[in-house]
Subunit: 220 residues, 8 copies
């Protein structure tokens, strides 16, 4: 029940800053996060099965931002596999939506659904990664925001229903699900969350390695 990557397969990673990870500044366009690791590890292990790896994540993007650029950034590339990690910015992370309000889970669901529908129609294999927020404690600087316990609770209140949306959509579209939020919570119990994501959102190298290892278990 894994996805087989044959020679010539095109795999696209898309989403927000966790996927982006400065891809525009990197020569190969993959950034320095989990997509880079997956591409490197696969490429090293399977030189006889070259895969085209694409990354169209953009930092700060919400699901609705993806929708705007979906045709040109994703559909036009005719990928065989699409891996999506989005949602943490639909949470109140940057506080204010471009249109001036926090995005309700229903809108998140509707927007996400519109991303998946044309891919499913085209027979594309789908991998949905849950958005995640690690249980950091105390007060940290996350992006532009100073985060204390109160803010973190608000964020979770916003994020949790969106995690449910991703799970529901995985069910609806027969996609593979990577339950990243629980994975990081469990890993954090032994080491503290800072080991895996210092600000609770952007993974450390070890955190990206954990994501990549879980992702690679879904393909062969």
């Amino acid at each position: 029940m894994t996805i087989t990557l044959r020679p010539g397969t095109t795999v696209m990673f898309t989403g927000d800053s966790i996927t982006d990870s400065q891809r525009l500044e990197s020569e190969d366009g993959l950034g320095f996060g989990y997509p880079l690791r997956i591409a490197g590890e696969w490429g090293f292990r399977h030189p006889d099965r070259p895969v085209t790896w694409l990354n169209t994540g953009i930092g700060g993007h919400k699901t609705m931002d993806l929708k705007v650029r979906w045709q040109t950034d994703v559909l036009d590339a005719r990928p065989d596999v699409v891996s999506i990690l989005v949602g943490v910015n639909d949470m109140g992370w940057h506080t204010i939506d471009p249109d001036g309000h926090v995005i309700p889970a229903e809108d998140f669901a509707a927007a996400y659904d519109r991303l998946l529908a044309p891919l499913a129609a085209a027979g594309t294999e789908l991998i949905l990664i849950e958005p995640f927020l690690l249980p950091i404690s105390g007060s940290v600087q996350a992006g532009d925001t100073h985060v204390d316990e109160e803010i973190r609770k608000e964020w979770r209140a916003d994020l949790d229903p969106k995690i449910q949306v991703v799970r529901d959509l995985a069910r609806t579209y027969g996609a593979h699900l990577l339950a990243a939020d629980g994975m990081f919570a469990e890993l954090s119990a032994a080491t503290g969350p800072e080991y895996w994501a210092a600000d609770g959102v952007h993974p450390t190298p070890a955190g990206h390695a954990a994501l990549a290892a879980a992702w690679l278990r879904l393909v062969e």
Copy 2:
């Protein structure tokens, strides 16, 4: 970083109906759920390391209900390891709290914390299992309640912060965490959630086996 079960260790499972699983009607007092499986599998594999297994789960119980009976049901037994799975009833599951209101996450946290404090003080090993609700779709009968999409969303809105509370407490007390909510979501992507818990809450035999297998990875 696993817990070693030596001959003569006393392990107590406690919580609500998922742990209880009709324990009072069963001869060995372990019920028919994951505690039974863990006790049986361990007992069969390690006859040279006999463990006393106790189950004090009670169906329908909330964290506050555990608090009331904590001294007599848990502390007095002087267990070496305590495994707790509670929270789904703190959610609006039976709608109305005995005291007449839904329990806020803060109260859940405070009550749960008071459970852990004396155990930690006594050097007891702790295993915290996240409360979970599987992404069932459509309309099902769960306990006394007819559950539709709307109700499920309300439940998740209530449950999700309590999952965070459990994760925070695991961090605070150095407990082992079993991230059951994400585990069941990931398993459900391939088979549907009904395969693991028909009503989204009470595991099927396969669901209890999944819980037991994850739990047994934490001990040796």
Copy 3:
């Protein structure tokens, strides 16, 4: 020479209290004994091969009791595999037969044979589990009876020929045999019989786990 369980296979466990194990009180109808474990373990390991597991054991039942309800409880379900564990109640366990006398081995054999004949005719795969009585010593409370050495000897005198009947029928019908009586005797040499069945008849969780493990070796 094992039985292959394909997706959609229906497996029925039937017999007496060891199989029943309070199945009517359990939500999934499997009780808390070895059938539950087998269903759970298989379900967890093989989500791609879902099996329908049925349990129609009834506590206290003798072979003749099975015969009365065989058509409705077993044959009408058209199972692909039937696993039978019966005989300990045909022993003088509850002392008095409904018809007022201990059941002779010949009658046990005849009744058991009539259970198997229609299944064999329908091409059903058969697994026969020997009835067993563990070598408890001293005086214990077993069901309604206070058991001392004398009673245990009478019981064995009654049970042993019935174990032979099961072995003979396994040979006659090409069934798989699970030699549970010797298995428990051998396991008991190291730990004492109470570890596997406190009253010598009803397995502990470890005992049910041993039965389930032996049973699962017969299928794949």
Copy 4:
């Protein structure tokens, strides 16, 4: 929980014809049965740990016959390990006891107990092999007797309580038990009992190999 065979260990097999297996006619005095196989296999695998293997089985012997020659044949040899397989001749196998009557299980137990007591007192490791009778069907020639179904049932009625005696004594003396009767019944389900013991009592080479393999699992 296995017995360690160190260089210089003396192991004695004793019992009846199954152990004897024409030992007096064989140059090494071990006969051609399971003791020979055990000695050969161990000797071949562990030339750095030479063991003295002794066989004092005598065909036709009952427990009481062993008692008569126990001091000279067993105790005087000061063995480190004693492995006993006896009981099938205490069954009505040769019909008439030298003293003119079938031996009751109580007498069998008392006689067997008197064999074990001095060994246990001397700290000798004990391996007790259950006497066994395979579920042959139809009419066969076993030793001097023409065996039909009726006779076989009488034999089982006599043998079964004696198997229980062996199990009880294993418990009492902390001996290792080899549950041979059930082992052969289970093996016979697939191939027929003749494959393992043509007359139901005396193993074929494959039957002796099965006994030897089970025995060798008890030592290291």
Copy 5:
């Protein structure tokens, strides 16, 4: 390049006393040597591939003795595989040939060749075991003869060319060769030859186990 033993294969062992090993006194007719072990081990490991094992070795026989009874004892049985171990009696072992003289290697070769020719013509698989004499030192009793160093040297002078004959015939007939003489010499370097064959000719149980293990590597 091993021989496959399919269900229903007939394997015949033949030769002299090492093969015979009192087969006429044993119930299954296989004796207590390496043929018994091979039959037992194969039978225990492969109950789904029953093989008919025959032993027509006769103690004291020379190659010419085999020739006399070859049609009735070997060819008439139409074996699929024939395993021959002969030659130690063609050596001056019993000193005097029935016809009154030691058998020259040429006669041994001619007689052995006449054994193999009809089998090869019938497509029978052949296994030739080198005759062997272990490097015992000092003076031992072997069969009827008191053997000192002088006699042993005479024996070797007689045996060695016959070992060459067997090797040549294996080459000529495409038979499998079991180089037993060197195998026992190498094993003896560590333990002394008495460990494997007390009189240098007749294997101990460990010696027969070594032969059987080497033989079983030639089949599958």
Copy 6:
């Protein structure tokens, strides 16, 4: 003969752009190349042995550039392990040295030696990675330079003696050597060099993965 990384070890990677790989733009300061992969993979596999990973590579730097900032960038950090990859810019890569001339191998050796001497004196473990240039063919854009066959030959003429310098220094200082130039040549024979480094100098993700895998074999 590997280096053991204990909890609390500080490992510093230093060198030029291949090590730098935009580290200043990355949040964790490791860049997106082989140091990132090593840190991530180690961190994920060994959460119980946290290591401090530092990267002070700077794009375009030559050995002499390292010397200038060695005290502040490397020695002051008191690393336990230092891994150096430098030399490709000492080659005529950017054509003109800041001081106006190509750097002779002798000067490269002297400068490199001065880097190692204080580390060796402090007992620091050393890993030296050979500078490498993959056998790209045709004309490619590498950094600021349009590279044709002629230029590539000049580069190799310059680089090769510097590779020898690194090997000599590894010998002199007892450092571990990673023979990267040959490794990439061998990998390139099957896939073409572009698969591992499009411009022959800067590895692709698969190339960085190959470096990281080779590096991780040197530690445990």
Copy 7:
């Protein structure tokens, strides 16, 4: 992506003294170096796949010397696989070319190319082994030359471009490459180069074993 050696394959090793290794004085004509080891190891492991091994290396030969005798020594033998190790004598090793000058890399490339062209046209599998010079230090006697640091540097300056030629040709002709120069440098870091080649050119037995092991990984 390995070369399969089928029964009847002809493999030719050719080159200079490292390949030659006194082949004319050896009975089998393979010399005592890596070709001998490869032939022996393969022959021992795969007696069912006999290969014809040929060695036409001649000590002191340069690529141009091979060209002169290519038709008669290599092409006429119609080998299925040709393994070439040449180049160290094209280096200034014997100082003066027969035609009176050091051979430029271009001439080396042209001559080597003319060796490969007819083989590639005939579909021959090709294995190219890089010429190598180990980083010996101090002053050693290599062949007729007293080698100090200065000479070694001149040699490397000459050899390195020729290594590049071999890599380029491997790419051009789809040959397998054995990157021997880096392999020996890496091995030498731990033990010193003298362990693998006392004069830096001619391998010790351990060095030939390293070459043979690497070569055997290219075939199956």
Copy 8:
């Protein structure tokens, strides 16, 4: 029961042409036979345990020739392990002994014994390799002699008692024995003897590899 080769161990191979194998012409003095292979394979596998390998075999030498040069060639080197392969020239191989007669086995034994005595007294580990002659058929050129069946028989008649002498001495001195004659006979049954030694005496590369593999199993 293997010999441990520690760093600094000196191992000496000695004997006749099979050991010699042109050692004087080889740079490392080991020849091209099994000593070379053993030294190379060990050196490659265990660079952390360097061993001094010496070869003092001389082609054509008999045991008595060894005796003459034993002090200077063997004892003076104070080896830790001595491996001897001698005897085929004591056979009538070169027909005429220097002293004008074939060497009787007794003299061979006496001479060989005098080689071993001082080594045993010094605590040297001993490995004795049986002299061997493969069962070549037809007429071949072996050394200076044209060998037909008749000659080969004479040779065997001479060689066989000398093989016994080696086995006896191995026993007497607690040496390790390598039973090469039988090993080659068994290997030859599948492939013909020419595959392992074309003239029946001097191994092919595959034959030397077989000897080396067997030898390496005696050390660790």
